[in-house]
């Protein structure tokens, strides 16, 4: 079915969407609102009643810097958003915000924003861009987005349905797909609630829950409760230290890819030394566990029997526990087996929450979607692609050859805030409003708040007049595709207001103001239920020490630059990496013994080569990485991403070959590489060049035994 994008309809969307609709700030008298749909100019001579120069007004909105969807309060003075804080009323983050959320201001005020539509190299007007799209569109268009939820997702589906039933590829490099698959297989619920705060021990196999996994701010708040008396114990098993690992009481280096073996090895110790029953496990699991003797674990992972017993002892002595895993399906599944054995299911893992309006729910991004997209594009099945919230040219594994796939797509339209590697290859680029200028609803990644849907509203007027909000664009496209039921809406604001009013069952102004002031709307929700588990296949890979001259490359994600999307924010480039404390450049983490074997010292440049590509960066020596591994964090290495990111660092994703996990189709983030010194050396710029306190009492530590003595003495609790 041919898609007709009617110019006049679309033009109606321009200039109205997002511009000065009702802004309800907190603690504001409800009669002081703006007229809908009118342009607003703030005059100091006759300001609005609520706008007092010098006094900030706080508006509630939602952070879109990652998929967690935390609620924010934005401080606005004289029409400018100046500071973001967490929204105290949203259950996900309870008033807290991570450094990516704080930096949303720089996303919004970034000097490299796209301010005008363009076709090829030429800046054009919106009507010209839309006319071009209308002319060139072929077949049923597809959408590539990141994780997406709320009413934007609804409109996206409506558009796709109305325009020929094209596919929606939700792509996220940093995701929890393997964990969700393991939970679905073992529990029948892909997104159960994880109660870190209720656990007395947490064992993580590479799941960076404090850094980048699912909803870090929420987990950090839970972690605070976890560490409060009685204090929980954190054990982390992973090939390279993540932020969660950096906070572990006990950190274990495991060969890349062998975390599942370690997990099953721990299960084996539990079954043998502690006689924990394996009867609750799905068939197939018990055998896998029995086969994983300490000797076999040691051979596969390098983790010795003493460590396995220690981990098992910690779990048994500190109950209830919680075991989580990431990186591969096997790891996540093995972690889930431990949960089942230890009786955590029902205690620290409880069924998740299902939104009753299911169309609002999260479409979780995955790298499988990227693989499918590449496959479909290569096969010529994609004629037109709309891309937003994703930069596949940067994040795709080098072996996927995404650029070739994209070249096969007839019309590529990017809806973006910044020029990046993907927009550089697109035919049309439409400028997108930032999260501080746009309307939307978002369902948080966890089920916190039981049906709480976060509302996003503009904190200020659009900085650049020609940008449009995502919802407005989708609404316009859907209307022009002839979708039913959308004719009455002039803009996304109108659509959203109607939809939310329907959700709360009231459409009067005060009710709407209340929603905006809270920054959230409560949707009906139902608890899911765990179902009995059937069979599960845990195929532990045969990991062994790499052959001479080879190392295992791991691409890690850090809270900060994330998957590279925040590399153009100077605050985050200058924020030292949590573990290495490096700034403004990439580095490769390598164990000192491995480095010595290769004749490397700190700051030496190395070329890391795989079958899919090569990168050259400096090494950083420390003991928080397995000797067989070389870990390069992702996020830098942009070739097109504005003045703060272009030409800085290297992109390790280009070294991956695109091998996918068998069960989930997710890209494996490790590959075999060769490392050669280039001979150059330059000091890696870090916040601090020392890793030691030199015997001075700076960050002091007390053992947990001493702490327990404190509490027993009752002379003062900690």
């Amino acid at each position: 079915m041919a898609t007709k994008i009617d110019r006049r309809n679309f033009l109606k969307v321009l200039g109205l969407g997002g511009a000065g609709a009702a802004l309800a700030g907190c603690d504001m008298p409800s009669y002081a609102t703006l007229e809908e749909g009118e342009e607003q100019v703030f005059s100091y001579l006759a300001p609005e009643e609520y706008m007092v120069p010098g006094i900030g007004v706080w508006y509630a909105s939602t952070c879109l810097q990652c998929a967690a969807g935390c609620g924010v309060h934005g401080r606005v003075r004289e029409g400018h958003a100046l500071k973001l804080e967490g929204n105290p009323d949203t259950a996900v983050n309870k008033g807290k915000l991570c450094q990516m959320g704080q930096s949303a201001l720089q996303t919004h005020y970034n000097p490299d924003r796209i301010t005008s539509p363009r076709i090829g190299e030429k800046n054009v007007t919106w009507p010209e861009a839309l006319a071009f799209i209308k002319e060139k569109v072929t077949g049923a268009p597809v959408w590539m987005t990141g994780s997406i939820s709320g009413h934007q997702a609804v409109l996206l589906d409506i558009h796709l349905n109305a325009s020929g039933g094209g596919a929606h590829y939700a792509v996220e490099t940093v995701n929890a797909q393997v964990w969700q698959a393991a939970c679905a297989d073992a529990l029948g619920d892909a997104q159960p609630n994880l109660h870190i705060d209720k656990a007395l021990s947490v064992l993580s196999f590479g799941a960076d829950f404090l850094g980048t996994w699912i909803s870090p701010v929420k987990f950090m708040a839970d972690y605070g409760a976890f560490r409060a008396a009685p204090r929980g114990v954190l054990t982390v098993v992973e090939p390279a230290m993540t932020l969660s690992g950096a906070n572990a009481d006990h950190w274990v280096a495991a060969r890349p890819g062998s975390e599942a073996a370690v997990a099953l090895g721990v299960a084996q110790v539990l079954a043998t030394a502690y006689s924990v029953s394996t009867s609750a496990l799905p068939s197939g699991a018990a055998d896998a566990i029995a086969a994983m003797t300490p000797e076999r674990v040691s051979a596969l992972s390098g983790v010795d029997a003493k460590t396995l017993s220690k981990i098992a002892r910690t779990l048994m002595s500190n109950s209830p526990s919680l075991v989580i895993g990431d990186g591969s399906y096997e790891t996540a599944a093995a972690a889930m087996m431990l949960n089942l054995m230890l009786g955590n299911v029902g205690a620290t893992i409880t069924p998740g929450v299902e939104l009753i309006p299911t169309d609002l729910g999260v479409r979780n991004g995955s790298t499988k979607a990227l693989a499918d997209f590449a496959t479909d594009a290569q096969a010529g099945r994609i004629g037109t692609a709309f891309i937003t919230g994703a930069n596949p040219v940067f994040t795709a594994p080098g072996g996927l050859k995404i650029e070739d796939a994209l070249a096969k797509i007839g019309l590529k339209v990017a809806v973006a805030m910044f020029e990046d590697e993907t927009t550089a290859l697109c035919d049309v680029v439409l400028p997108l409003a930032s999260s501080l200028e746009d309307w939307g609803t978002h369902v948080p990644a966890t089920g916190a708040g039981r049906g709480e849907v976060h509302v996003q509203q503009p904190l200020m007027e659009k900085l650049h007049p020609d940008v449009l909000g995502l919802g407005d664009i989708m609404l316009g496209l859907a209307q022009d595709a002839g979708a039913d039921g959308l004719e009455d809406f002039e803009d996304y604001y109108g659509y959203l207001r109607t939809a939310i009013s329907a959700m709360i069952g009231a459409d009067l102004e005060p009710a709407w103001q209340a929603v905006l002031q809270a920054g959230k709307v409560q949707a009906p929700a139902a608890d899911r239920a765990f179902t009995a588990n059937g069979a599960i296949a845990i195929n532990v890979p045969e990991t062994s020490a790499p052959t001479a001259g080879q190392l295992s490359l791991i691409t890690t994600a850090r809270q900060g630059l994330f998957d590279g999307r925040h590399a153009n924010l100077p605050w985050l480039q200058e924020a030292p990496d949590q573990i290495s404390k490096a700034v403004w450049d990439s580095w490769a983490e390598i164990h000192p013994a491995t480095a010595a074997g290769l004749g490397l010292k700190d700051g030496d440049y190395v070329t890391i080569t795989s079958d899919s590509g090569a990168i050259t960066t400096r090494v950083f020596l420390y003991k928080g990485v397995h000797p067989d591994a070389i870990a390069v964090p992702m996020g830098r290495g942009h070739t097109h991403y504005g003045r703060y990111a272009t030409g800085i660092g290297v992109n390790p994703l280009s070294l991956l070959d695109g091998t996918a996990d068998a069960r989930t189709g997710e890209f494996i983030n490790t590959t075999s590489v060769r490392v050669h010194a280039t001979g150059d050396n330059r000091h890696l710029v870090r916040l601090m060049d020392v890793d030691s306190q030199y015997g001075r009492k700076l960050a002091a530590t007390i053992s947990a035994d001493q702490l327990r003595r404190n509490q027993a003495n009752k002379q003062g609790s900690a």
């Binding site: 450094q99 704080q102 006990h250 900060g560 949590q578 404390k581 403004w584 000091h683 916040l687 530590t701």
Partner: protein
């Protein structure tokens, strides 16, 4: 002449009385911080929030490498634990066996600040709130204060960092706090602009300031609530309860704790600078 002598004697009397009472010197407030290192995950949100709140310039790789960066609050990371040396690490292998120790370090607002007496023009002084204030207008940039700071938390504007905010980034600047020019010293102010704003709000509403009215930017954003800010002279405040619970007193360089294993401590306390940031030791399960 008699009044001059009288003033000198009175000044001395005030000073020594203040020292006896734990350095309170007739202060109206005594703002302090407590940071729980066991809760701090090292995520760096506090540092970024400080950049956003206080108009801190981003200096770029070269200047950062030359150690001319302006991070008022820096999160340090150490891999060693000197206090735990006495306890055998049964997990020790040639890879890390424990995580790291993170230390958010900012101006400690010492009651006996070594930076205050040495400024030739008196650009840094102790306010009646107990804060160590830096007056940007008065600073002529002799940098003696920074040399005298044992924590090295004073930052000097070695450049005019105007290129840190290319338009429209300059629209994000917080108008409650100035943008400093070259030649001026700056440091953490415990978000003094928020303190003043909260006081004004309380006055406007005709009430007293209460605990929780003022949140520093770092405290407000910290996802684990590791940072606590408040008024030590307010007996009902959360912060004075924490200081009391850990038996740490102002005005002394040797704490007399009944239970020496309480977690609260101050850094470089033996230098007798009387800091107002209480750190709670990180706990490690061995």
């Amino acid at each position: 002449m008699p009044s001059l002598l009288g003033n000198i004697f009175k000044g001395w009397a005030d000073y020594s009385k203040g020292n006896e009472e734990g350095g309170h010197h007739d202060y109206e407030h005594m703002y302090a911080l407590a940071i729980d290192l066991d809760l701090c995950t090292g995520c760096n949100a506090c540092s970024t929030a400080c950049y956003a709140e206080n108009n801190l310039p981003v200096v770029g790789e070269d200047k950062f490498g030359a150690r001319q960066a302006m991070h008022w609050l820096r999160v340090e990371r150490y891999f060693d634990e000197p206090d735990m040396d006495k306890i055998e690490d049964t997990n020790a292998t040639d890879t890390q066996s424990r995580g790291a120790s993170f230390l958010p370090m900012m101006c400690q607002h010492c009651n006996a600040a070594p930076c205050e007496p040495v400024c030739p023009v008196g650009a840094t002084y102790h306010t009646v709130d107990g804060l160590n204030a830096q007056v940007y207008n008065r600073c002529i940039g002799s940098r003696y204060c920074a040399n005298n700071c044992p924590f090295r938390v004073r930052y000097f504007n070695f450049y005019d960092n105007a290129d840190s905010w290319p338009a429209p980034m300059d629209q994000q600047l917080n108008p409650d706090i100035s943008v400093r020019s070259k030649g001026v010293m700056e440091k953490c102010s415990m978000c003094i602009q928020r303190t003043r704003a909260a006081r004004d709000t309380a006055k406007r509403e005709g009430r007293e300031l209460k605990d929780g009215d003022i949140q520093t930017a770092c405290q407000q954003t910290c996802p684990t609530s590791a940072i606590l800010f408040g008024d030590l002279l307010d007996e009902a405040s959360a912060i004075s309860k924490v200081w009391k619970r850990h038996q740490v007193k102002l005005g002394t360089y040797k704490q007399d704790k009944e239970n020496p294993e309480l977690r609260g401590y101050r850094i470089f306390e033996e230098l007798n600078v009387d800091t107002k940031v209480l750190y709670l030791e990180r706990v490690r399960e061995v």
